[in-house]
Structure formats: C-alpha cells, structure tokens
C-alpha cells in the first residue's frame, strides 16, 4: 500500500515536472517569438475568463436603486390590492416583501391581513384614505408640504366633549386646537403632537426602529405611516427613519447585501446564491468600491475556495483555541481514561484524575496499580497498558498538533498578506529604478506590479486552502487537493523570491523581468487549477468534510 502510494506520488511528481517544463517552454517560445512578453502574457495574468460554473453573477446597486426597487414593489401592490401606497408599504414590510404571500393572505381575508400588518380594517375607509397624501411617489421624495392639520381625522370621541387632555403629557387642548395640535391614527387613540414627536424620536433614534413603530397606546398594534412620521418629526430624524427602512429592506432580502467595507454605500444584488446553495457555492463578488466580499456570509474579503460555514467554524475555532492550544500543548497531558486535560502543578507522579478518579503515573501514563509499591520507579515502559495509555494520549495530542499545523500555515499566509502593502511599495520603487537604469518604458515595467497582484491573490487562496484542508477527511481527493496546494505554494514562494531580488545592470533586469513574468503566469495557472478544481468539487460533491455541512 505504501509503495503504491509512493509510486503515485512519483508519477504525479513527474507529471508536475512535465507540466512545469512545458510551461517554461511555452513561455520561452512566447518570449522569443513575441518581442513584448508583457503584452503577450497579460491576459493570462490579469483575469481568468469569467463565468465558470461555480461563479455567480451579481449587480452592484446604489442606494437610490434600492429605493426605486421598493417604490416599484409598492406601486405594484398598491394597484393590485387597491390600497394606498403607504398601506401597501406597511403590508409589504409585514410580509417581508414577499408579495405572493401577501396577495394570497390578502385575498383570503383582507380584513385580517390588514389588521395583522397593523392597519385599520377596511370597514372605516374614510379615516384611512383621508389621511393620505395624493402623490404615490411621496415615499422617495419625502416632501413635507402636505400639512397634517388638513389631513388628520377628526374622530376621537373626546373631541365631541370639547376640550381634550393628552393622556401622556397631561396637557389640556381646547376644541379649536385639537385638530392642529393633536393626532390620532384612526384607532381612537389620540395624543398631542409633541408627545407623538417625542415618542417617534425615541423609537427612531434611540431604539433604531423603523417599520414597526406602533401606536403609543398599550397593546394597540396600529403601525405609524411613513408620511405621518415625516410630517411629525424633524428632517434629520426623518432621514434616519428612511435610512433604517432601507437598511431593513436590504437586511430582509436574501438577494441583497450591503458592501461590508468601511465608507462604501453600495449594495450587492445576487440571485444565484440563496442560503441553501451555500453548501456548494462560494459566491465571491466584487463591489464597485474595488473590494471583494463573500455574498453568502458577508465576509469582507474573498475566502475562496472555502465554504462560508467552514469559514465560520474556522474563525470561531481560531478565536477560541489558538492561544489555549499552544499552552495546552506545552503544559498539560490528558487523563488516560477520561481524556480530561490535566496540568500538573506539584506533588508526586501518582496522579488521581479529579474527574474520573483514575489513578495513573504522570511519567509513563500507565495505570498506577501496576506500579505496586515501587514508588517513583517508573521502569514500565514496555508494559502493554502503559503503551495503550500513551497511544490514546498521542491521539489526543495529534489532533491538537494537527490543528496547530494548519493554523500556523494559515496564520503565516495571513501575515504575509498583511505585509503586501510593503511589497507593493518596494516593487514600485524597483519599477522606478528599472525605468531609470534599464531604459524601460513605464508600460514595460508594469509586469512587476502585475506579478505582485498575482502573488497576493494566490496567498489569500493558499491561506484559505489550509482552513479547507483542516476540515477535509483524509482520502484520495484530499491528497489531490493537497498536491495542488503544494504546487501553488511552491510556485508562489519562487515568485516571491524573484520579486525580492535586487537589480543591478540592464542585462539582469531583462532576465529578472522574464523570470518574474513566467513565474507569475505559472502562479496564476496553478492558482486557477486549485480554485477550479476545488470549486467544481463542491458542485460534483467530491469533498468530504469531517464536520457536517
């Protein structure tokens, strides 16, 4: 078995070397036949052709487009259900913008659908419609021109008796000032406008509520309409309110996601990566701000080729375990029976596990019973039970070591990626140098920058490939994966070395330029192979993980 394995590896090595040689030859040919190597290779370096089966398509939206999307939905529902636009908005928000479900429920029982969403039932249509502004485009324009004094319902019972006392601030209002100074949503709960205003400010600014601000009366579920809020509060609060509404719209939609990068206000729309597909897709998308993100989980960079769920597990594990694991490795052993981790902080080698009361020897890890009265004479190395005990111990250690193996490589690439800024600067300096001493044009030295880009991208992929490998079950597919990983890593290291080379004369510049261009092309190729194979592997369900996805 083992010899077979070795043969396989040799075969693979050969194939790999061949591939490498061929690449070299091709590149050499290219460089010989084409005087301008950079131009000939640039398509390969720049971007692999789009639309692989595992790629998703996406659009980058502006906030205005998001607002328009809502307006469109609202006016659709408004005309279908024949309700005012703000009612349509409240209904849609209540049904989380699922217009099919909304229509089904509405046609089933209009009164209860309205009631549930926090609207008055249609039995009192006069109060409902009379409060509404005429323009349906109002929610986006947010004009404040329609005075509430003319549009408010004048139905509260207390008005008929003359004066009115606001039940919240206990202010008295006479009959004349009731319509202009107080407001009721038609649910018979009337309050003064100052109280409404104060309440809305606390809700919007203090609690960050938007779509579900209800009547102030305890237990009344009537939702406050947009235009009422716009009329009652100051402009800045109203702006915040609409921002919250938009944020809620994006948050509620499974096809929209805010770009997570600081100061970026774009929204990504992607319909091909619903949550149920995330066990076979890694929907990496690029925002207009120039940064990558994962549409599936909102990770603020590409974590390809690793699935979102695995990334989450890994991040959690790293946060919890890394430091602890290192310390455990150095300072503790496990109880040979219950595998509790034990730190020996003094005393003799006759250990009694606090948890399972198992007695064992700290030196040989064998059961203490076999030591008899031979105090501290641990000559039992070949005893079977001692070996068994050490075996289980070793297994538990091995899992820790395994984690640290992957973690240290992952962290190493993470660290390297952080140093990329420096590498960029260094490379830029070098490019200037080359232009000066090597008589190269600006465009001719761009190869160095391109190569750095390729190297950075490859490092990110390599970083995540270690996370992937940690969770992969050991099988032939995993071995192929690790072969690809090794090839990429080797290629990246070679390129990295070349990029760090200092330049002296014109001749060496020409050689270096050729080397770097070739190596970058090779890295790109290995990178694409690893990525392609891994991502296709999800679709083909080739990968087996040690955790449940």
């Amino acid at each position: 078995m083992s010899s077979d394995g070795e043969n396989d590896e040799f075969l693979y090595e050969d194939a790999y070397d061949d591939a490498f040689d061929q690449d070299d030859e091709v590149d050499d040919l290219d460089s010989m036949s084409e005087p301008d190597v950079y131009d000939a290779l640039s398509p390969a370096i720049e971007e692999a052709p789009q639309r692989k089966p595992y790629d998703v398509s996406w659009k980058v939206k502006t906030l205005q487009e998001i607002i328009d999307m809502q307006t469109k939905e609202i006016s659709k529902i408004q005309s279908v259900l024949e309700v005012p636009p703000s009612s349509a908005a409240i209904l849609l928000r209540h049904y989380v913008w699922n217009s099919e479900k909304l229509q089904e429920q509405f046609w089933n029982d209009p009164a209860s659908a309205l009631e549930e969403a926090g609207l008055s039932p249609p039995s009192s249509p006069t109060t409902r419609t009379s409060t509404l502004p005429p323009s349906p485009t109002r929610r986006t324009t947010r004009s404040l021109k329609a005075g509430p004094s003319t549009s408010l319902p004048k139905r509260a019972r207390s008005i008929n008796t003359g004066s009115f006392e606001c039940p919240i601030c206990c202010m008295e209002f006479d009959e004349l000032s009731v319509p202009s100074q107080t407001y009721s949503m038609g649910c018979e709960h009337r309050f003064c406008k100052d109280c409404w205003k104060e309440y809305l400010v606390v809700k919007i600014k203090g609690e960050g509520e938007s779509a579900k601000i209800q009547c102030m009366e305890s237990g009344c579920g009537r939702v406050v309409r947009e235009e009422v809020i716009d009329d009652l509060v100051e402009k800045d609060v109203s702006r915040r309110y609409h921002n919250l509404l938009n944020a809620a719209f994006v948050a509620d939609s499974s096809t929209l996601r805010w770009c997570p990068h600081p100061n970026c206000e774009y929204i990504i729309q992607c319909t091909q990566a619903p949550p149920r597909m995330l066990n076979q897709l890694v929907p990496t998308v690029e925002c207009k701000c120039g940064h990558d993100l994962c549409f599936g989980c909102g990770y603020a960079a590409s974590h390809r080729p690793v699935l979102c769920k695995i990334v989450r597990l890994w991040e959690k594990k790293c946060a919890d375990d890394s430091e602890t694991a290192n310390w455990l490795q150095a300072n503790t052993k496990e109880c040979t029976k219950c595998q509790s981790t034990i730190e020996k902080n003094g005393g003799c080698n006759h250990m009694t596990c606090k948890k399972c009361k198992w007695e064992f020897c700290w030196v040989c890890m064998g059961p203490w019973s076999e030591h008899g009265t031979a105090w501290y004479q641990c000559n039992r190395f070949d005893e079977k039970s001692g070996i068994d005990a050490r075996d289980t111990q070793a297994k538990s250690r091995a899992s820790l070591e395994r984690y640290l193996h992957y973690f240290s490589r992952w962290a190493n690439h993470e660290h390297s990626a952080k140093l990329d800024g420096e590498l960029y600067q260094k490379t830029e300096k070098k490019m200037e140098q080359m232009q000066n001493s090597g008589n190269l044009s600006w465009i001719e030295v761009q190869f160095a920058k391109q190569a750095v880009d390729v190297a950075i991208k490859a490092r990110v992929t390599l970083k995540w490939s270690y996370c992937m490998a940690f969770y992969l079950k050991r099988n032939n597919m995993t071995e192929l994966f690790e072969d690809n990983q090794r090839d990429l890593e080797r290629a990246v290291e070679t390129l990295g070395y070349s990029l760090e080379q200092s330049i002296s004369d014109t001749e060496s510049i020409a050689k270096l330029r050729q080397d770097i261009t070739n190596q970058a092309a090779y890295v790109q190729k290995r990178h694409d192979i690893l990525m392609d194979d891994t991502l296709k592997g999800y679709l083909e369900r080739r990968w087996e993980f040690s955790v449940d996805i």
Binding site: P167, I168, C169, C170, M171, H189, F191, D194, C195, E198, Y199, V202, K203, G206, M216, E217, S218, G219
Partner: protein
C-alpha cells in the same frame, strides 16, 4: 420636554393620592419628583397576602417614552424577582412598555405579577426551581419571607404565634434535611446555601442529589 415629564409625574402622584380604592401609594423620597417609592399590599389569596411591598422607582429622562425603572425594596420570594437585588423581570418594564402606562398601572402590574409568577422566564433561577419542584414548600417560604420582610401577620394555621421562621424555613428547606448535613460537621450557613443552590426539596431529595450535595460540600 422635561416640563411635560415633570407635569406628568406630578399629576400621576396627585392622582394616585386621590385614589383611595386601589391601595397603591406613590411617595417622594426627597425633593426630586423623579426618584419615588411606590407601595402596595400583597394580593389576597397568595403567600404575599398581608405583606406590604415597597418599590424603588426611578423616572428616566425620556419618561414616559422610556419605561420607568422599578425594583423591589422589600425582599420578595418570587421567581420573577431577584431575591438578592429586588430586580424585576416583567415585559412592560422593557420592550412592552407604552407611554400611556402610568406608575400606578405599572405598580398594579407588579401586584398581579405576585399573583401569577412566570417560572419559565425567571429572574431568580433558584427560586423558580423551588417553585417548580415543590409548590407547597415554595408557598410556605414565600409566606415566611412576607412575615419576616413585609410585615405580614403570622397566621396561626401556618406557624405558632410568636414563633420566628428558622433560617432553614426562610430558604425553603426542611430542618430535617439541613440538620442531616450539619450533623456531619458542615457549617449551617454552607449547608443551607448549597441545598438552596441544588434545589434539595420535594422530589429532589434522593440518594443521587444527596451525593451531589456531599460533593459540593467537600469542594
């Protein structure tokens, strides 16, 4: 808006003083109308009957748009009230608050909370466990607390007149169970705190929990 807040609180205090039927009082502690003491009698037909419960009331700046802060000053043995701090777990004091609710209506809600504990959403987990494990024993303890802390008169049926509840009874434990462990030489204080923590009552008194009590005591 602080004018409105002051006006509203003053009116609430006035209205409450006028209303003699509800037996609820709201009084100022000092000059500030925003730090008050509310009080109400324990509801009838409960272990709290006859007790008199005082509540610390703090009016927040955004009152009545933010809920009032209330906690019991009088010690109460109740699943939704912390037996140590008096903190209260009640929805209207948090997200179900509405500006139309008043100090009086909130105090009435507290009163009815004493009638109907919600042990599944407890503030004091130990008390809630006691409530769920052995209702009679819980009621007895709540009564002892009412007598000891809320000036509830001692009932002849429950205990002999003049007899003060023992520390075991105050913790909802039987003297028999406590002395079982103190006889082994453990301190009474330690035994009571551990038996309370492990809810050593009713059906929980069995050999298995006996062992876990011993384990705790030996730690």
């Amino acid at each position: 808006m602080s004018d409105a807040r002051l006006r509203r609180v003053q009116k609430e205090i006035r209205d409450c003083a006028k209303d003699k039927t509800s037996n609820i009082s709201i009084d100022m502690i000092d000059e500030s109308p925003f730090h008050l003491i509310g009080a109400f009698p324990g509801p009838p037909d409960t272990p709290y009957e006859g007790g008199y419960y005082e509540v610390d009331i703090v009016i927040p700046d955004a009152y009545p748009f933010q809920p009032v802060k209330m906690k019991f000053i009088t010690k109460v043995y109740h699943p939704n009230v912390s037996s140590a701090s008096g903190a209260i777990c009640l929805d209207i004091l948090k997200d179900a608050w509405s500006p139309v609710l008043t100090l009086k209506s909130t105090l009435i809600s507290l009163q009815s909370l004493l009638c109907d504990p919600v042990p599944n959403d407890p503030q004091d987990a130990e008390v809630a466990k006691h409530y769920l494990a052995d209702r009679n024993s819980f009621n007895a303890t709540a009564k002892h607390w009412a007598q000891a802390y809320a000036q509830a008169p001692a009932h002849k049926k429950q205990s002999e007149p003049g007899k003060v509840a023992t520390d075991a009874e105050m913790a909802g434990l039987t003297e028999e169970n406590v002395s079982g462990f103190t006889d082994m030489g453990f301190s009474r204080e330690q035994v009571i705190s551990i038996l309370k923590k492990l809810n050593y009552r009713g059906n929980n008194v069995n050999p298995q929990s006996y062992n876990s009590v011993l384990e705790e005591l030996l730690k």
